[in-house]
Symmetry: C2
Subunit: 145 residues, 2 copies
């Protein structure tokens, strides 16, 4: 399949929403992401189901952020968008009858598991607030020039 960019996309949107006091429509968000409003609704439905954003229908409606930036991590967003596959690499057969294959699977799965735990750990340590602060730091640096 294509590479799953839902995490990056949603983080991008959430940081914009954090600096905006009115709702963004799906069309506006689709413009930010250079995609389609239906893709936005579909992906953000996962965030809404976990309470990270809210949506309102009708005129003047749209999407607003609904979570504490200090308590929401990149891992929370990753899980909310439903990303199942982290790796493009995998085992050939999860329950091999061949003992050679079981040894191979065990070694490869072990390496993959360690990398996955590191990635999950990294994502779990970064909050939306920290990303927002990085953005403000860049803005302040550019103002000084």
């Amino acid at each position: 399949m294509r590479t799953d960019s839902r995490l990056s996309r949603m983080l991008h949107v959430l940081l914009h929403m954090a600096r905006h006091d009115r709702p963004y429509t799906s069309e506006q968000i689709a413009g930010m992401l250079q995609t389609n409003a239906v893709v936005v609704r579909r992906t953000m439905a996962g965030l809404r189901a976990h309470g990270y954003v809210q949506s309102v229908t009708g005129q003047g409606g749209g999407w607003t952020i609904a979570c504490d930036l200090n308590k929401t991590t990149l891992l929370d967003i990753h899980r909310a968008v439903g990303g199942r596959h982290i790796f493009a690499i995998g085992l050939d057969n999860d329950n091999p009858s061949c003992a050679v294959e079981r040894v191979v699977n065990s070694a490869v799965a072990d390496a993959l598991d360690r990398a996955e735990r590191l990635l999950i750990g990294s994502l779990g340590e970064i909050t939306l607030a920290e990303l927002a602060e990085q953005f403000y730091a860049i803005c302040r640096a550019e103002l000084k020039q």
Copy 2:
């Protein structure tokens, strides 16, 4: 796309070849992997290009292992099969004009890079000889029962 199982498959084949003094035909290997002989030839062509295996055409031909098990790591095989994408997850846009998106990309890419380095490091530390030894250890344990 589907998950890339070329590394696991080739490791499986290499360990079988290491215990076999005659060539395996692509058909025999396809039988081990429950796939098609053309898939086998295509994938193993990468290993051959790096000198890890040899192939001989014609009657009595087939594939033989041609590397030092003690010097060949899982990383060598991973690279030989041409696996480019390690992650199913990625950035939405590699060169964003939006400063918010650049902050997001930097954080996500950083987490992915660290996990990738750990995985590459793990694969580079395991030799084919070590996998073969794990297999023999299992065989010895089963004989004792």
